[in-house]
Amino acid sequence: MVNQFLPPLAGGLLIGLSAVLLLLLVGRIAGISGIAWNAVSGAADNGWRWLFLLGLIGGGAIYHWISGTPAPAPNPAGWPLAAAAGLAVGIGVRIGNGCTSGHGVCGLGLLSLRSLAATAAFMTTGVLTVFVMRHVLGGGA
């Protein structure tokens, strides 16, 4: 039982450490949605953003390569649902100025009430959406 929680905890600590180092060294909040949007929309002083994103993708690859852990199974839901979900996520994170990393990991670290409210909101609708998909509609992912 303990073992099962060790990788998530270690992963969480690593994510937290990354966020702290980014703040200490670069002076920036590790909010992935903001970093990704500013990178593609051509904000000023963008080099660090592209390198962070390169690391974000490469870090996962390195983890699987070193640990020999196989890639997780693809989500059985088809690409139309994936596209619909992506659209909602993309619009939502821009309007709400952040996602799990910016509001959750970093915003809570800054003891921001705004981020706490946002985190409570997206956790609630996330849980509700899964409830509806799995237990009301009975289909979905």
């Binding site: 690593l14 309007i95 709400g96 910016g102 609708t125």
Partner: protein
């Protein structure tokens, strides 16, 4: 040095996401399935990460400046308004539909799954739409 630091932070973040199970939509959806067969594992991801940031952020911010940059760039907005709540709620809906938030979606691109690619392309399209809409409102 700033660029190198950003790259290393990104690598740690991506490795953390893959190690934690956040790039596995089955685990994420299982975690969000609070009223079904709940999989509690991923609570430790957020718990671990937030434990680190709450303890260390205040210590870091006692410094005048970051190590490799001129200033700390921190969010200035504090309002808890309809816009924030609508956006966060919509984001949660998308998260619960497929199981990815932005970071894990990007990291999971390396698995080469078609659905992930559709998710990420669509996510950027959504960001673009929202940015256009917000520009239209402010001008």
């Amino acid at each position: 040095m700033k660029a190198l630091a950003a790259l290393i932070c990104g690598l740690m973040f991506g490795a953390g996401l893959a190690l934690s199970g956040m790039t596995d939509t089955a685990k994420v959806l299982g975690f969000l399935d609070l009223f079904g067969d709940w999989v509690p594992d991923l609570a430790f991801v957020m718990g671990g990460a937030v434990a680190v940031t709450t303890v260390t952020f205040t210590l870091v911010l006692r410094r005048q400046t970051p190590v490799f940059a001129q200033t700390f760039s921190l969010p200035q907005t504090q309002a808890i308004d309809g816009r924030l709540m609508t956006g966060a709620a919509l984001f949660g809906l998308g998260w619960g539909l497929y199981g990815y938030c932005p970071g894990p979606g990007l990291t999971a691109l390396i698995y080469g799954h078609t659905g992930t690619l559709a998710f990420v392309v669509s996510m950027f399209a959504g960001m673009w739409l929202a940015a256009r809409w917000q520009q239209g409102r402010s001008s």
